[in-house]
């Protein structure tokens, strides 16, 4: 029985720290990547020398590391990430909520025994689906894989899903439907550096992944950056000074805008007819659904002038034609790309909108050619790998389908179980979280126990108030985290885990490139790797199969499980990636990279890369090798507040006057629910609270001055934040970042509406009413601190854990 001491099997067997090599950056420096977004900027982590100045708890320093995707650059989030390694707020021992509602430190055995007992008990009393598991797009490939396997085999539940459902599911569903395969960028990111025109739809990369901007420079130089965003975001402003075009559609009309763009391309005879004939199916049907979207009609739906739509379409089509011509005459093409982000995807028609973007790219003859392509910009650190390896409710590792008998059989063989031992499809994230302690959409009882790994759903989930109520209705909530996040603060058992610089593993970046995350420093003595936690729980649950605690071994198993699947990793291993990345100094092979699909035995490509840097060059991933032009059109408006301000208003004049469309999004200084970045002094001081970005015209109508407190309210809930007036936003919108807890928790207002295909929540287009509030409200609770568990939650919730 392992005690609290760390065992040697927790990952030390991996390649570990790189010693300084020739040209290396000094003693003990480790080559790794950023903990935050999917750009995964390369960094060098250097542990602080114990003899150094006693700068408060400085555990390591970070420098940008030369790498093709980031070129040595880091944003503010990345270079301040080390601050959190030595944070005084780290969780350092398992916490158990006592009968008095307060947390108390307990040993690992006690915590894990309790969790396992409750799983066993609920499973016996209510069946395995009484326990649900919730993962994250921030987990390494190894952890994501292991978590899905643990849920299906050790717990036996079908109820597993993850927060990537909030990010990538619509683009993924569209990619699978149209192209047969979803890989965020099906080409290396650096291909953008040869771009003439980039159409960027609903993505504010200038704030979300600043080092990405260097890849847009080529398009900007030629005046070819076209940004679609209802806000004049930092990214949209990059189109100023004749660097491109900014189209500012009314929220929720991105699909109509794309139909208008595609209409111009097709009906003004600018499409690549040869490509369409050779590589796609469905043109005639698409033509019929596009026929009604002449530019003036698209204008009517979007608020974007017809002439701007036409100009953008011609810009794209003319550049695409030039690129084709260059390819045909063996010159270097000025490429054309269509890229989508959450702004157009997080809607009740997000899958169709992403599909319309793919259709546009196909009409231009781009995907799968050297002339350019279509891509979606993955958000979370491992948002790509996280959606491939079996923590999605409908998937098994390797992007296999859980309802396909052949796929089940393959994975069951790797897991050493009978196919029947793998449960069937579960339910997607929003529906799962909204069923906690209640009822699932199919009428079956919702889960009574939830294990959360790497996600702060109290802040990040839609209709967050309902999620919080659901968590409180559970028999037991177990949260694995390194800080006392708002979700952990609700838990019965909190399990402290390691941070990025303390663990080994791999991530798959936004271009499908495999990256190694390497241990650079030791974590706090009481924290544990999640692989170890899952293994220990599996053992206590007498789970079938094996649960290695060594990341490289888990990866090897993942590779076998993915073999022959769409996301085939079978030709990849930690050792191969270490060799390829050459740690320090960078080798030629590293810049070439390793991209999935990469089947075992795949030979090196001519440029030294391994796997498939560019997908679809010969064929798309459908059985007939062709891309599908899937006809899409706007459907009925979603019900309730999810319709935003679309449709004709009917309410009384006074109520109408205060209604705006709420857009949620991100700030440069924060990441996701803010659980990390709000604890980073440099970031929190720059952006300490959520603010409502509001047009002065709307503010004037509502009697709101800059800095006033305002209340946002709708059927779901309320948030109170300070107003910040800006002409960068449309007068009918209010923008609030979703990184904050307490009164500024804006996801409380987001509805439970989801996309019918992908189950992606509609974060982006919510009707709210806005009013000034005279008295500044009580300040939101400060982020709880852990060293003193009694301060965490002063008895606000009734004690749980005994019985429902």
């Amino acid at each position: 029985m392992p005690g609290n001491a760390r065992t040697g099997a927790e990952g030390r067997g991996d390649s570990g720290r790189a010693s300084s090599g020739p040209g290396g950056s000094g003693g003990g420096a480790t080559a790794s990547h950023c903990p935050y977004c999917a750009l995964q900027c390369a960094m060098t982590i250097t542990p602080a020398t114990p003899a150094g100045p006693a700068a408060a708890r400085t555990v390591a320093t970070i420098e940008g590391r030369d790498f093709p995707t980031s070129a040595g650059r880091l944003c503010r989030k990345g270079f301040s990430a080390a601050e959190l390694l030595g944070s005084g707020e780290r969780l350092t021992a398992p916490l158990l909520r006592g009968p008095d509602g307060r947390f108390a430190e307990v040993g690992w055995d006690e915590a894990l025994d309790l969790v396992a007992d409750r799983i066993r008990g609920l499973r016996a009393g209510h069946g395995p689906d009484a326990v649900a598991v919730f993962g994250a797009g921030g987990l390494t490939n190894e952890k994501a894989y292991q978590l899905g396997k643990f849920a299906r085999l050790a717990v036996g539940t079908r109820l597993v899903d993850y927060n990537g459902r909030f990010c990538m599911s619509s683009a993924a569903a569209a990619g699978n439907r149209s192209l047969g395969l979803d890989r965020g960028l099906p080409f290396p990111l650096t291909d953008l550096q040869a771009a003439d025109v980039v159409l960027l739809l609903g993505s504010n990369v200038a704030d979300t992944m600043p080092p990405f901007l260097q890849h847009l420079e080529s398009a900007r130089r030629g005046g070819g950056l076209i940004v679609v965003d209802p806000r004049a975001s930092a990214t949209a402003r990059l189109t100023a000074d004749r660097a491109g075009l900014h189209l500012q559609p009314a929220p929720g009309s991105d699909l109509e805008l794309l139909l208008g763009l595609a209409h111009v391309v097709l009906f003004e005879q600018l499409a690549d007819t040869e490509y369409l004939a050779a590589r796609t199916t469905g043109l005639e049907q698409l033509r019929r659904t596009l026929a009604p979207w002449w530019p003036r009609r698209a204008e009517q739906a979007t608020g974007v002038p017809a002439e701007s739509i036409r100009r953008a379409a011609h810009r794209l089509a003319e550049a695409a034609a030039r690129a084709r011509e260059a390819v045909a005459t063996r010159r270097e093409p000025g490429k054309v790309f269509v890229l989508t982000g959450r702004g157009v995807e997080q809607h009740a028609n997000g899958t169709d909108t992403a599909t319309a973007a793919i259709n546009l790219a196909l009409l231009l003859g781009l995907p799968g050619t050297p002339a350019g392509g279509f891509g979606t910009l993955t958000g979370q650190g491992n948002g790509q790998g996280g959606r491939e390896h079996g923590q999605k409710s409908d998937q098994l590792p390797g992007y296999r389908r859980i309802d396909d008998p052949v796929h089940r059989e393959h994975v069951a063989r790797v897991w050493g179980v009978a196919p029947e031992a793998i449960p069937g499809p579960g339910v997607p994230a929003a529906q799962l979280l909204h069923a906690l302690g209640g009822t699932l959409p199919d009428g079956r009882p919702g889960p009574r126990m939830l294990l959360v790994h790497g996600s702060n759903v109290v802040v990040s989930a839609p209709d967050a108030g309902r999620v919080l109520a659901g968590l409180r209705a559970l028999d037991m909530l177990v949260v694995a985290d390194f800080f006392m996040s708002e979700t952990a603060a609700e838990a019965d058992v909190v399990l402290p885990v390691l941070q990025w610089a303390e663990e080994e593993g791999t991530l798959t970046n936004l271009e499908g490139r495999l990256l190694r995350r390497r241990r650079a420093v030791d974590g706090p003595p009481g924290a544990r790797d999640e692989l170890w936690i899952l293994a220990e729980l599996a053992r206590r649950l007498d789970a079938p199969g094996t649960y290695s605690t060594v990341a490289s071994e888990v990866f090897d198993e993942l590779a076998s499980a993915s073999a022959g699947g769409l996301a085939d990793y079978s030709g990849i291993s930690h050792a191969l990636l270490d060799a390829a990345e050459g740690i320090v100094p960078r080798s030629a092979a590293e810049s070439a990279g390793v991209y999935w699909p990469c089947p075992a035995g795949a030979p090196r490509n001519d440029d030294g890369s391994l796997g498939t840097p560019r997908l679809f060059l010969d064929r798309f991933a459908h059985p007939d090798g062709r891309a599908r032009l899937v006809p899409v059109r706007p459907g009925a408006l979603p019900a309730g507040d999810a319709a935003g301000l679309r449709g004709r208003t009917t309410g009384p004049a006074e109520a109408r006057r205060s209604e705006l469309t709420l857009l949620t999004g991100r700030l440069l200084e924060h990441y996701q629910s803010g659980a990390q970045t709000r604890r980073t002094a440099a970031l929190a001081s720059a952006q300490p609270e959520a603010r409502a970005e509001l047009h002065p015209a709307a503010a004037a109508r509502l009697g709101i001055a800059d800095g006033d407190w305002v209340r946002l309210e709708n059927r779901q809930g309320t948030a109170v934040v300070r107003a910040e007036l800006s002409t960068a936003i449309r007068p009918d919108c209010v923008f609030v970042p979703f990184h904050f807890a307490g009164l500024g928790k804006v996801n409380r207002l987001v509805t439970d509406a989801t996309d019918p295909v992908s189950s992606m929540p509609a974060f982006k287009n919510t009707r709210v009413s806005l009013a000034r509030v005279d008295e500044p409200p009580e300040p939101g609770p400060a982020p709880p601190r852990t060293p003193d568990p009694s301060r965490v939650r002063p008895g606000t919730a009734p004690p749980r854990g005994a019985s429902r």
Binding site: F79, F267, R297, Q300, E669
Partner: protein, 520 residues
């Protein structure tokens, strides 16, 4: 499972095509048997784009909205070139010209509208037949008309367009844009009389002339003059002749409602239907699109409302079976039965009735001339009243810009905008959504040309590099401590090490230092 309900659609234009498309799932599920009777020999196409086809901007084959063969494969009984002689409501069947009966449980009229033919000497027409026009005269309603216009445009000829409505103005500009000569002959002082006030009308006329269109205003046409049986000139009441190679008639359309009138339904400016698009009282006969007068109102002639009706009706027909009646029975004697959800239906009801929309906005389909209008724009600046009406006007005729906004309680009830594309697009949204305008109306004009914030001298605490948060002051300090390159500044304070977008600004700081005399 009961037998499928037989739905027969008379007409196969754009609105019918949308209805058919939305009924396909029910056809596939076996709950509906669908028959479509189209009079033209081709399936539905997008009439709005007929003029574009005429000038060769897009191909005729490209504007199809339906494919008859594909629909047939999907189980729809599509009959093209099928002319309906009459509808027998008592026996619930449609009789075709060849005498074949088509039985129905539910009937949808989507017969559209036909061009109004003006009373002109030289134009013969029989009131109850589809008109036959002489050579060189076209209505620009279907693809055959498009062929005629295409030839004139290809030869750089001269097209006389009679009628100053939306279609006439659009046709004139399109012809002009493609290198042919357009002559627009119209009644009033200026074109689009229903959509402009006097100032906007004069500016519009000015812009049309600037585009090369010859305007013949306040004209009344009386005759078509022919030479060797072809159109040669249009004769006006004052005796003037307007010669041309083609006469395009664009004086409006009239609902095709004769079939409905012939089977005892209420008509007049279209087939009268209620808010649920029902033309009868027993939930069996419906009308949509240009032939339907919803609550007695004249059809808008716009495609958007027609498609909205089609979508709504498809949902309604799918979810509400016909109420059971002793069949066959004389339809008119049955009491009105409110429709109710079928027992097996679990879907929520569609909205109780089609949501009321304001009169549709007009967005002129012309390049280089941004004209947008909606609602009643006749009130003048001082025609305010106690009801909260307010009128705002912006005019800059030399720049071709004009905008009038009429609001009631802050919400637009009428507007016209010329030469202000971005503002116009915004006004359309505000108008259609019934949302309140900014109290300061000039906000809407500032959208046109977002002015960059004046470049004030940045203070030391202002952020220079957004990615790192480094301020102008920090960069200046780095410079003062000896940094001479962007890279050195980056190492000193991280400015410029993120997205790299501020490198120009850092260089500017460094250059400024180089110019400054040492010691200052």
């Amino acid at each position: 499972m009961s037998t499928p309900e037989r739905v027969v659609v008379v007409g196969f234009g754009p609105v019918a095509a949308r209805l058919v498309e939305d009924l396909l799932p029910a056809v596939a599920a076996g709950t509906l048997a669908l028959t479509v009777l189209g009079a033209e020999s081709r399936a539905a196409y997008n009439r709005v784009l007929v003029a574009e086809v005429a000038v060769g901007r897009t191909a005729a084959g490209a504007i199809a909205l339906a494919d008859a063969d594909e629909l047939r494969r999907a189980g729809v009984d599509v009959r093209l070139g099928a002319t309906v002689r009459r509808v027998d409501r008592s026996r619930r069947r449609v009789l075709l010209d060849d005498g074949a009966p088509v039985p129905y449980d539910r009937l949808v009229f989507a017969t559209g509208a036909r061009p109004i033919l003006p009373t002109l000497r030289g134009l013969d027409f029989a009131p109850h037949a589809e008109p036959r026009l002489p050579e060189g005269v076209a209505a620009l309603r279907d693809l055959d008309d498009a062929d005629l216009l295409r030839r004139v445009v290809a030869d750089g000829g001269r097209a006389v367009i009679l009628g100053g409505g939306v279609l006439g103005v659009e046709a004139a500009l399109l012809v002009q844009e493609h290198g042919a000569q357009a002559v627009l002959v119209h009644h009033g002082r200026h074109p689009l009389p229903r959509h402009v006030d006097d100032d906007a009308g004069r500016l519009l006329a000015h812009r049309l002339c600037a585009a090369g269109v010859q305007l013949v205003s306040e004209a009344r046409a009386v005759a078509v003059q022919r030479e060797s049986d072809r159109f040669a000139a249009l004769e006006l009441a004052d005796g003037a002749l307007v010669p041309g190679d083609l006469l395009v008639l664009s004086v409006g359309v009239r609902a095709r409602d004769e079939l409905a009138a012939g089977c005892g339904l209420a008509t007049g400016n279209g087939i009268h239907v209620d808010g649920r698009l029902r033309a009868d009282t027993e939930d069996r006969v419906f009308a949509i699109g240009d032939c339907a007068a919803v609550d007695g109102a004249r059809p808008s002639g716009l495609i958007g409302p027609g498609w909205a009706q089609a979508e709504w009706l498809a949902a309604y027909l799918t979810r509400h079976r016909t109420p059971p009646v002793p069949a066959p029975g004389p339809a008119d004697t049955l009491p009105a039965v409110p429709p109710s959800a079928s027992p097996e239906s679990v879907d929520p009801l569609p909205a109780a009735s089609l949501p009321a929309e304001p009169p549709g906005a007009i967005l002129l389909k012309a390049r280089g001339l941004d004209f947008t209008s909606g609602g009643d724009v006749s009130p003048g600046l001082w025609d305010t009243d106690a009801g909260g009406r307010r009128v705002s006007i912006w005019a800059d005729p030399q720049r071709g810009a004009y905008c009038k906004m009429v609001t009631e309680d802050g919400a637009l009830t009428g507007f016209v905008a010329l030469g202000l594309p971005r503002t116009a697009a915004e006004l359309v949204l505000l108008y259609e959504r019934g949302r309140e305008l900014p109290a300061d109306r000039t906000t809407l004009f500032r959208l046109e040309d977002p002015v960059a914030a004046p470049a004030a001298e940045p203070g030391p605490d202002e952020v220079l590099c957004r990615c790192s948060g480094a301020t102008h002051g920090q960069v200046a300090t780095a410079r003062e401590t000896g940094c001479t390159t962007v890279e050195e500044v980056g190492r000193a304070c991280r400015a410029g090490t993120g997205c790299g977008g501020c490198r120009d600004r850092i260089e500017a700081v460094l250059r400024a230092a180089a110019r400054e005399p040492v010691g200052v």
